[in-house]
Symmetry: C2
Subunit: 221 residues, 2 copies
Amino acid sequence: MKISELSRRSGVSIPTIKYYLRDGLLPQGQLTTAANQADYGEEHLRRLRLIRTLVGVRRLSVSAVREILGAITEEGDLHQIFGIVIDARPATKLRKQDREETAGGDTEGVADARRLITEMGWEVSPGTAAIQTLGEVLDALSDVDAGIGWQSLLPYARLTDRISELDVKQMNGASDLLELAERAVLVSVLLEPALLALRRLAQEDKSARLFSGSPGGGETA
Amino acid sequence: MKISELSRRSGVSIPTIKYYLRDGLLPQGQLTTAANQADYGEEHLRRLRLIRTLVGVRRLSVSAVREILGAITEEGDLHQIFGIVIDARPATKLRKQDREETAGGDTEGVADARRLITEMGWEVSPGTAAIQTLGEVLDALSDVDAGIGWQSLLPYARLTDRISELDVKQMNGASDLLELAERAVLVSVLLEPALLALRRLAQEDKSARLFSGSPGGGETA
């Protein structure tokens, strides 16, 4: 198809497609006999839709998208791709605070995060970004004396373990490695806001059932 | 305590404390006989630590924090406070896309989100922001032909329902309404990045077990 049809079918404007082509996010089309024209295939369309989703819906930076697409194109091992996807996408950024580091260079929270991982029997790379994120939340909870430590997170960890089993099941039925990798990206990245939204809805439901009409109505400080 | 001690114990600088006082995030201290001096209590310290967490760790805007603190101070019903917390904090912002709206003014995804809520039997306000978020994700999944519709999210919804039961359990043991509300904020806001981090770790573990050494190694496009 011509670039105009690619634009129409993907919903991405021609200038943006040309930018992705220059930038290498999208492979060049097949040159045709017509001067200055290139031919694009279904593969281009699929890839463009994926780019649109990652940039437009999940607001990833172009460089984060490049890393993910590079992984899909170059790596063959789905575990490697999954690892890059999990680590590369912008984790929820928490502001670095000055903290006492323990002997191993970890904050107390990161050390607790590693305890939780050991307790769960999870096999993860020690440098995975999510360990830092979890550690920073544990440090913050400790700062505010919330009384929520790593042991309190174990029941959460068991439920998220089951969620990750659902995630992996979504990989079934993909016909080739590119499709598998695309699904890995979608499931790991795109489902995040959905899961948080589901939790909020469930919280609202529980809150309505448990707390509505709780004492103290009308009090002001 | 003097403002200098409040600063030392909270880890918040004196100019920032003065800004919060001017802005009304923090109530004024008790005036003392000494000119230009005010006395601050443990209540100020608790509130300041909470502000620091919400602004510093979760990067909420000062106006979002003001809304949450206002709810804690003025509302007496924990369900109302929970509702404000759930709705007020910045939901994951998804870029608005032009979509066909159904007759009710909902996109197809939002209509599907409402189906899921009905199926789960959740009692939620029809205007809750999380419904829009969930709908936008469903629209995005449909855009990329992911084959993941609202029915595929039901098993996720059941597990997040159990997560919300854990959330509600964290409310136990609070001694007064302010403390209850503070815990509601912490649990609903601060645990979000922790849950996503736990899911990533669990995914990495499942991926290592299932996909490591999967076919295709060394292939390039």
